[in-house]
């Protein structure tokens, strides 16, 4: 992403108040790790295994719903299975806008942490 595109994206998102929250960021990263497509419980498990954070499935679904509303991910319904009590899976898929949002978020963190290492050593 070029610097001007990054600035344009930031300005657009800040106006709409839609910069990624911490859980949104983590869930998008989890989806990216899971080859861009997974259902809620797999996302929850991935986060728990990687970060040690035992988050509730409700928080995962609420965040996935928010990300879908923002257009960062999309979802589709799978086939119902007996082990799920005859319920179908809802699979979430990573979208191009989600990738862009993640890149911007990563860039923001890099910008904010640049040059901090020497300061931390002094604290």
């Amino acid at each position: 992403m070029t610097f001007s595109a990054y600035l344009f994206y930031i300005a657009k998102q800040m106006k709409r108040g839609e910069l990624l929250g911490s859980l949104e960021h983590i869930i998008l990263l989890a989806l990216a790790r899971l080859d861009g497509s997974a259902h809620g419980m797999i996302v929850r498990r991935e986060i728990e295994e990687r970060t040690g954070r035992d988050i509730s499935i409700g928080a995962v679904y609420a965040t996935l719903e928010r990300l879908e509303a923002k257009g960062y991910i999309s979802s589709f319904t799978g086939e119902p299975t007996p082990e799920r009590g005859g319920r179908a899976k809802r699979l979430f898929r990573f979208e191009a806008a989600g990738k862009q949002a993640l890149q911007v978020s990563e860039q923001t963190i890099r910008n904010m942490t640049a040059g901090l290492k020497s300061r931390w050593e002094r604290i």
């Binding site: 259902h39 809620g40 419980m41 509730s56 499935i57 609420a62 719903e65 319920r87 809802r90």
Partner: protein, 188 residues
């Protein structure tokens, strides 16, 4: 509870608060994980995990429901059922007043019976239309009773627990009667 089946009340609780688009998927995820945990660890540990997930998911789901305006539909249904309940109660009170004055013991005994019957019917109707509407109906009943107690509408000298019974049993009958009479479809 069947062998290796998740806690029914926790399922009911989740089904009541999870917005419709994600209800089936989320319950399916939880049931699948519960089955895996019940087989690998123990059904007790799996049930404990399921309860923990259900209780911790409620605030997120309520907030999500509020944001998606899903609650407005449930609230409208609850209001509609509440009006029907009020009409039923009014009709029943009119019938009772024909053979018992408000000061008589018969009236004091019949009033809670009529009240609980009305709230139970209301709860069943609301649950039949939309599961989440029962929570709003229970809240409306509780607020109405609290306002009536505060306004001292009841002129008959009754003990405190009599009024407290209306305040607690009314909302409870709205919530529990549909489950007891099997109006709700099994959630797990």
């Amino acid at each position: 509870m069947r062998r290796n089946s998740p806690p029914a009340f926790a399922c009911w609780l989740l089904a009541s608060v999870v917005p419709a688009p994600y209800r089936e998927a989320m319950l399916g995820d939880l049931i699948e994980e519960y089955t895996l945990r019940a087989e690998s660890a123990s059904p007790v540990a799996a049930s404990r995990w399921f309860w923990s997930q259900a209780c911790r998911s409620v605030p997120s789901m309520v907030w999500s429901s509020l944001r998606s305006r899903d609650w407005l539909i449930s609230m409208s249904i609850a209001m509609g059922v509440y009006i029907i309940m009020g009409t039923l109660k009014f009709a029943a009170d009119l019938t009772i007043s024909k053979f018992a004055t408000p000061q008589q013991t018969t009236y004091v005994i019949l009033a809670p019976i009529v009240f609980l019957a009305t709230t139970s019917i209301g709860g069943c109707v609301a649950a039949r239309i939309r599961r989440g509407a029962t929570i709003f109906l229970a809240l409306i009943v509780m607020i109405t009773v609290a306002v009536l107690i505060a306004a001292k509408v009841c002129t008959i000298p009754v003990p405190w627990w009599y009024q407290f019974g209306f305040l607690t049993l009314g909302p409870l009958s709205v919530l529990l009667t549909p489950a007891v009479f099997g109006v709700l479809k099994p959630t797990c």
